[in-house]
Every structure is written in C-alpha cells, then in structure tokens.
C-alpha cells in the first residue's frame, strides 16, 4: 500500500522547509452520517518529524484539524540529501511513517 504521507522537503539558505500531506479522515466525533448515527472520533493525535534521530518538530493534533491534514514547518541544521522521518499515530492506535530526502 502506498504511504499515507506525502512529503516535500527543500533546503534553501540553511533553512529546510517541509510540507507534509497526510491522508486521514480526521473524524471529530461530532458529525452524524446520513442515517443519523454519530461517526466516532478518529483523528491523528501526534505527528513527529525526526532528523538524525532527533525530533525537530512535534505536532499534537486535535479533532479540529481538517481532513487530510496539511502541515508546513521550517527548521535549521539539515543539509541537502539528509533523511527525514515523518510518523503519525491516531487515537485508534494506527500509525504510519515515511522517510523523505531533503532536496
């Protein structure tokens, strides 16, 4: 199965800009389906970006983050060709991770 995470990381002038798009329903637990049943909450709680074994960015997400969440962040200290690992875990214990190379 293809990874649920799409990442683009670009280094420019010492600053790495990272854009990540995760495929996830992000159900808030407040929405009802067409039959009137509440769709149970199902959302990503934690997303981490790791570089050289160190967390550079940690996002704690709640159910108010949009479906198929998009995140952009910037950090220093990485070079072109370095590997980044992006991992997430949701409230049902599901998780996924992917590795990206900085361009």
């Amino acid at each position: 199965m293809a990874s649920s995470i799409r990442v683009r990381a670009v280094e420019n002038g010492g600053v790495t800009s990272l854009k990540a798009l995760v495929r996830h329903p992000m159900d808030s637990g407040f929405v009802k389906d067409s039959a009137g049943n509440v769709i149970p909450a199902h959302f990503i709680q934690l997303l981490t970006i790791t570089h050289n074994g160190k967390d550079v960015f940690v996002a704690n997400w709640g159910p108010a983050v949009s479906k198929d969440p998009f995140l952009e962040c910037r950090f220093k200290g990485a070079k072109k060709g370095d590997k980044l690992t992006i991992s997430w875990t949701d409230n049902k214990g599901e998780s996924d991770s992917t590795t990206a190379t900085i361009a």
């Binding site: 934690l46 550079v56 996002a59 704690n60 108010a64 479906k67 952009e72 962040c73």
Partner: protein, 162 residues
Amino acid sequence: MIDQRRRGFLKGVLGAGVASFALGSGIIPLRAEAANAPDTSGWPKKAFNTPGVDETIAELYGMDAAESDKISLDLPTIAQNGAVVPVTVETTLPNVTGIALLVEKNPNALAASFDITEGALPFVSNRLKMAETTDVVAVVISDGKAYKATKNVKVTVGGCGG
C-alpha cells in the same frame, strides 16, 4: 546405527526450522515498527477537552497569555468552507518553544499544539475546521512566557455539522 543417524538428522532439521521461523515470521521487524510509531502518552488530553480559549491556555501551559503584536497570524477574513481553513503562524519573538492554535467557538477550543525544538523556526502552517464565524487565537510560548494574537474569520459554511 542407521536409526541413530536418522535421529541426528531430524534434530538438525528441526533446530534450523525453529530458528528460521523466528527470523522469517517478522517478530523482529514488528518490534522495530512499534518503536518507530510516536507515543501518544504525552498528548495533552485534558487541554483538548476544555472549552473556552483562556481556560485551554491555562490548562495547556499553566499560565495566561498576553496580547502581542509580534505574532503574525495569517488566515482568510472570509472562509467559504469552514472544513478547510488555512492558518499560518509566524513570530519574531525569541526562544520559541511552543505554538498552539485555538478556535474560540469550536466545541473544544484547542485545535493543535506544536512543540518547537531548538533547530525549528517559529513558523507553522496548518488547516483547521471551524463550526461558525469565530475568533482564531494563536498562542506562542517565548522565553517561558505565553503570548497570543487573535483574528476573526467569517465562515459561510460550517465545518463541524457535516
């Protein structure tokens, strides 16, 4: 004589079989995957279940936030679709360790909180859901103190009612 050799042969096959099963069945790769998944035990559950902006800031960071004009909070003035509202926060405040995004009129105000490590720049862009026309508050933790900026968004179609 023949019998003994047969025993030895069988023992050898069985021993090798067990070892290769342990390697092939993925017991070791499974462990590596579990270690790789982020641990959600540190997730601020209580703060995510608190209504109200000031209460949530107090719950999350244990202090009140002061207004600051050094936080740039970029989001549309009118959002046609409340389910997807792009929000960008950037600040010139020094030594930022955390950024949080709160939506005042959502059932629970806290939408997301970010840990900014030493190497990361105090910048984040995220897309949020909001139920109705509301204030969006960005909280920045700088030098151990909390600062906030507020901006109003007009939402024409709510993103929480389905």
